[in-house]
């Protein structure tokens, strides 16, 4: 009970601190904050798979990248409406997740991990080589941000950093609440049951494959939503977004933060992103520092950042 209340308080404090960011933080930090929020959405979507359904995907960047490309392509074709642009990323990624999931979920453990990696790398190859659609290694650049209906009357647009940050925060909160509900729903409990003991779940009468596929698609869709936001935020979609290092980084974010908690991946995403962008712009030997940080985490905080809170 007290843990639950502590968590809610922590979350509210985090939310208030974040929401006020545009009021006091330097512009650059609002940018970093925006990137971190998008990355946090991405990380939460992976935690749904990893933490709740026990699916260690090493190709989650595929859905992030597909979402970014879908949103970018649509925006460059003069679609100027926020909701469709956000949804297209989620829908495109969900559509891609269906066949990938159907094939990958036949395997388990490291084999599943490698299959998802393989499919992500195939999509990466597609992004690099299907130049007529994706413009190859140059990527889609100059992706415009959509107008927000009614915002003009209030005197701001999403092209300003503050409002865009708040948009990302709103989407992140929405995703958080959605996943929070999902994981506590009968569906979420069923997933946990499958994670714990799939054979038993089958014996009880659950079509476990369908459940795993469903959650894989939902996870993919949310990663695609994050991808949509990333395309809008950065103004580009490049093959790098689908590369396996991005899958690795988001996996690291989830583990560093602590999986199976939703809060953990958010904290992990902030830590990893700030460490990566922040360290690389301020410290020369940033890779060394980041690497040492990860090693220290494994050794001293095996349950991630939330492990600290949970123990307290």
């Amino acid at each position: 009970m007290t843990v639950g209340r502590g968590r809610t308080l922590l979350l509210l404090a985090l939310l208030v601190a974040l929401a006020s960011l545009p009021l006091w933080a330097p512009r650059f930090w609002i940018y970093i904050g925006t990137q971190a929020l998008i990355f946090a959405i991405f990380a939460m979507s992976l935690d749904l798979l990893l933490g709740y359904a026990g699916l260690a995907s090493f190709g989650h960047a595929a859905f992030y990248g597909v979402g970014a490309y879908a949103c970018g392509l649509l925006a460059l074709r003069h679609v100027d409406a926020l909701i469709p642009l956000l949804l297209i990323g989620a829908l495109a990624s969900a559509a891609v997740a269906v066949p990938i999931g159907a094939l990958s979920l036949r395997a388990t453990g490291i084999y599943f991990l490698m299959l998802t990696l393989a499919f992500a790398q195939i999509l990466w190859g597609l992004a690099v080589n299907w130049t007529s659609l994706t413009r190859g290694t140059d990527g889609l650049i100059g992706v415009p941000r959509p107008a927000l209906p009614g915002a003009g009357a209030l005197g701001f647009t999403l092209n300003e950093r503050g409002p865009f940050f708040i948009l990302c925060l709103a989407v992140a909160v929405l995703v958080f609440l959605l996943l929070e509900a999902l994981t506590r729903s009968p569906f979420g409990r069923t997933l946990e049951g499958i994670r714990e003991n799939e054979r038993r779940m089958r014996a009880l009468g659950f079509p476990t494959f369908r459940y795993r596929l469903a959650v894989f698609v939902v996870g993919g869709a949310i990663a695609g939503l994050a991808g949509s936001l990333a395309a809008m935020s950065n103004g580009f979609a490049t093959p790098d977004l689908l590369y396996w290092t991005v899958s690795g980084l988001v996996l690291v974010a989830v583990v560093v933060g602590g999986s199976r908690s939703l809060v953990g991946p958010v904290l992990g995403a902030f830590l990893v992103l700030i460490a990566q962008l922040g360290l690389s712009t301020f410290v020369d030997r940033w890779e060394l520092v980041l690497g040492a940080l990860f090693i220290a985490f494994v050794l001293f905080l095996p349950r991630g950042l939330v492990g600290l809170v949970r123990r307290a």
Binding site: R184, P186, E192, E196, N197, A203, L204, P207
Partner: protein, 243 residues
């Protein structure tokens, strides 16, 4: 629900784990399956439950051919099972373990929103009571003692509301008192539930079973009432050890 197994053959590489096994259990029947270790009892359960594909033979559940059905569909036809080694949801609470099984019966897994289901909570509470696990409701299943785990194992299978139940050594590792209470629990089941039980504890077998089938080296060597089986010379030879 009646079970009708015909000509089941299962091979692991060159070894035949089961060869041409027939098994007929009428609805409401109480059947025990005995035989020495490695006789193929658990393999037979796996085939009936759909975990293992047979090389030949058919499985019919309630008169319906289920040979090609996946495990979860067989479960939905009314087949339940327990496992030789407890396979619980170790990280979940005892109550949540049972809730999963109840939801399986109600097919309530596809609800994406947290809902308070009082009926479900009441049933879970009742079942905890029945299994003498009320005090452990909020503990993780993995942290239970062996006896408690076995009780939960059986209750989990029952909560899914089976009309036919495969019990794989439910008494294994239990103390005398625990055995008695487990037998009581199974005897208290409604008459229409079919029971097939694999068990080494012959007291329990005779207390529960109306008929006994004997497996040895993947072949069914006897089938009949306890008295008939006891009298069967082949059973005495391979099973009771009188060479």
């Amino acid at each position: 629900m009646d079970l009708s197994i015909r000509g089941l053959t299962v091979r692991f590489g060159a070894v035949a784990a089961l060869s041409g096994v027939d098994l007929e259990v009428p609805a409401g029947g109480r059947r025990a399956l005995i035989g020495p270790n490695g006789a193929g009892k658990t393999t037979l359960f796996d085939v009936i439950a759909g975990e293992q594909r047979p090389a030949a033979g058919t499985v019919a559940l309630g008169g319906r051919d289920a040979t090609a059905l996946p495990p979860w569909q067989r479960a939905r036809l009314g087949l339940g099972r327990t496992f030789q080694r407890s396979t619980l949801f170790a990280q979940l609470t005892v109550a949540e373990n049972l809730a999963l099984a109840v939801r399986a019966r109600c097919r309530a897994g596809w609800r994406f929103w947290p809902v308070r289901d009082r009926e479900l909570e009441r049933e879970v509470a009742d079942r905890l009571e029945t299994a003498h696990l009320s005090g452990a409701a909020r503990r993780r299943a993995g942290s239970l003692g062996h006896g408690e785990q076995r009780r939960l194992e059986i209750e989990l299978a029952l909560a899914a509301g089976p009309t036919a139940l495969l019990l794989d050594e439910p008494m294994a590792g239990l103390s005398g008192a625990e055995r008695t209470s487990a037998v009581e629990r199974l005897r208290a089941l409604p008459r229409e539930v079919t029971l097939v039980i694999v068990e080494h504890d012959l007291d329990a077998v005779f207390a529960l079973a109306e008929r006994i089938s004997v497996l040895d080296h993947g072949v069914k060597i006897a089938d009949g009432t306890p008295a008939e089986v006891r009298a069967d010379p082949r059973v005495q030879e391979v099973y009771l050890g009188t060479a």
